[in-house]
């Protein structure tokens, strides 16, 4: 029975239009595989904390306002444990890593801690605890709080075929930032831990280098970024103490072949990550000394204005 009193729509019903998803062109990597991104690292930026640091990594994408990796670390301690805690002859280190709700580009993250944050917090704790002389601070707690303000390009790789490397980059940055904050707090450490990431990627098709092994030999990339556009076969992040040449954390994802011969993929990955971490350590050294040098220079009267050279507002 047609209804003549109104203007009707089609009788079979309609379906809403489904737009083809925008063709996302895969970005081509612009950096050389062994070039590392410049790190910005500064300490003592959070006055209430005993020690603090801020780390920023530029994103390789050439657009303006592209998202970068921004991490802030605050260290409190050694401070007394609550009375309910058991007696401990060592300091108790707890690390808590949180993503700010605005840190991922696509979806807003809630405040509730999820499995990813807990997992990264545990890994960070494992990386740091071996470097701190906890035996010097009995009955106390050292708390490290890491907030990721911006994790470049989000955490989920667009590629289901590749290992997602964004989380590893966050962990490496968090390790470096936390070490800077711990050193800024004056807590005794045997060495500073720096984080480094390396990945084995599928060689791009237009690469000139054709190995005798064939096109499929994976290529080692240091400090990979999710925005680089590589297809990642396996990746590793290390927490490395460059002074003592010791590894405190190793986390690998993806299948690595172990061969008895010279070419061992795991060796390649680990050595690549350690190389990255060693280079990051140089930045870490300069950053932790910077604050102290500033204070020493001011106390010697080299800087005339108060506030260490900051521009003061005129009335």
């Amino acid at each position: 029975m047609t209804d003549r009193r109104r203007i009707n729509g089609p009788s079979e019903g309609t379906t809403p239009p489904v737009f083809a998803s925008a063709v996302v062109t895969k970005p081509t990597p612009t950096r050389a595989p062994d070039s590392l991104r410049k790190i910005f690292l500064k300490t003592s930026l959070t006055p209430p904390a005993t020690g603090s640091a801020f780390l920023e990594l530029p994103s390789p994408a050439p657009y303006p306002n592209s998202s970068t990796l921004k991490i802030t670390a605050s260290v409190y301690g050694p401070r007394p444990l609550p009375s309910s805690a058991a007696f401990s002859p060592h300091a108790r280190l707890t690390a808590e890593l949180k993503f700010a709700p605005f840190s991922t580009p696509h979806k807003r993250r809630g405040y509730v801690r999820d499995a990813v944050e807990r997992d990264l917090s545990v890994q960070l704790q494992n990386a740091l605890v071996k470097s701190i002389k906890t035996g010097a601070y009995p009955k106390s707690g050292i708390d490290v709080f890491i907030t990721v303000l911006d994790c470049e390009g989000g955490l989920d790789g667009d590629d289901d075929e590749g290992v997602e490397v964004g989380l590893m980059g966050v962990l490496a940055g968090a390790i470096t930032c936390a070490s800077a904050a711990v050193a800024d707090a004056g807590i005794e450490c045997v060495d500073l831990v720096s984080g480094g990431v390396a990945a084995l990627v599928k060689r791009p098709q237009n690469s000139d280098a054709m190995d005798t092994d064939g096109m499929n030999a994976p290529m080692l990339v240091l400090d990979p970024s999710p925005a680089d556009g590589y297809q990642i076969l396996s990746a590793a992040v290390v927490g490395y103490m460059a002074g003592r040449e010791e590894v405190t954390l190793l986390w690998t994802k993806g299948s690595v072949g172990i061969l008895d011969g010279e070419e061992d993929e795991l060796d390649l990955l680990m050595d690549g990550a350690i190389m990255t971490a060693t280079a990051v350590r140089l930045v870490l050294n300069e950053a932790v000394k910077e604050r102290m040098l500033l204070g020493l220079a001011r106390s010697k009267g080299k800087l005339k204005e108060d506030g260490g050279g900051d521009v003061a507002m005129s009335s």
Partner: protein
Amino acid sequence: MATTFPNIAIPGQPLAFATSYTPGTGVHVFNDQICASIVGQPQLSTPASPSRKEKDQEVKQVLSVLRPASGKSEDVALVNLLPQVGSMVLARVTRINPRQATVEIFVVGDTVSNDEFQGIIRQQDVRATEKDKVRIFSSFRPGDIVRAQVISLGDQSNYYLSTASNSLGVVVAHSDSGDPLHPLNWRQMASSRTGAIEERKVAKPI
């Protein structure tokens, strides 16, 4: 190894061989080398009094790494100092009972702490002599500030303190009516306003 030290040392940086100097504060020994443990300036000092067995040998200088007080730009308290065994502290009495006085430590050494640590002064640690005749009620009252020495790290909730020395005991106290008290002798304080005498275990004024 060069005897010139870097202006600022960072944790893990080797400073000297362990045979050349005695390790002091802020350093540790690794692979027979003295390495820095904190970010700071390496400094040499001569030990205060050589122990008997070192008199025959050359007295080695003490290598430490110190964090300069002006390292931080603002007036934020620096590294949190934890009470060690033997450190002098100032504490405020919070509770008393016939066997012990519970205190909150707020000054460790010369630094005011950011956090307060809980401690206990047991009856037998109040005085050096006649320990069994001590009455806590006549030695401390809640609200008194006492200078004490840490004798033990204690258990999970308390440090153990002692005031068994002439220089240790109550330094600041108020009477029941709120007037400040000034010390008369090792066991009495008097109110400045009324002259009324109250019993405390008093520290010898410096």
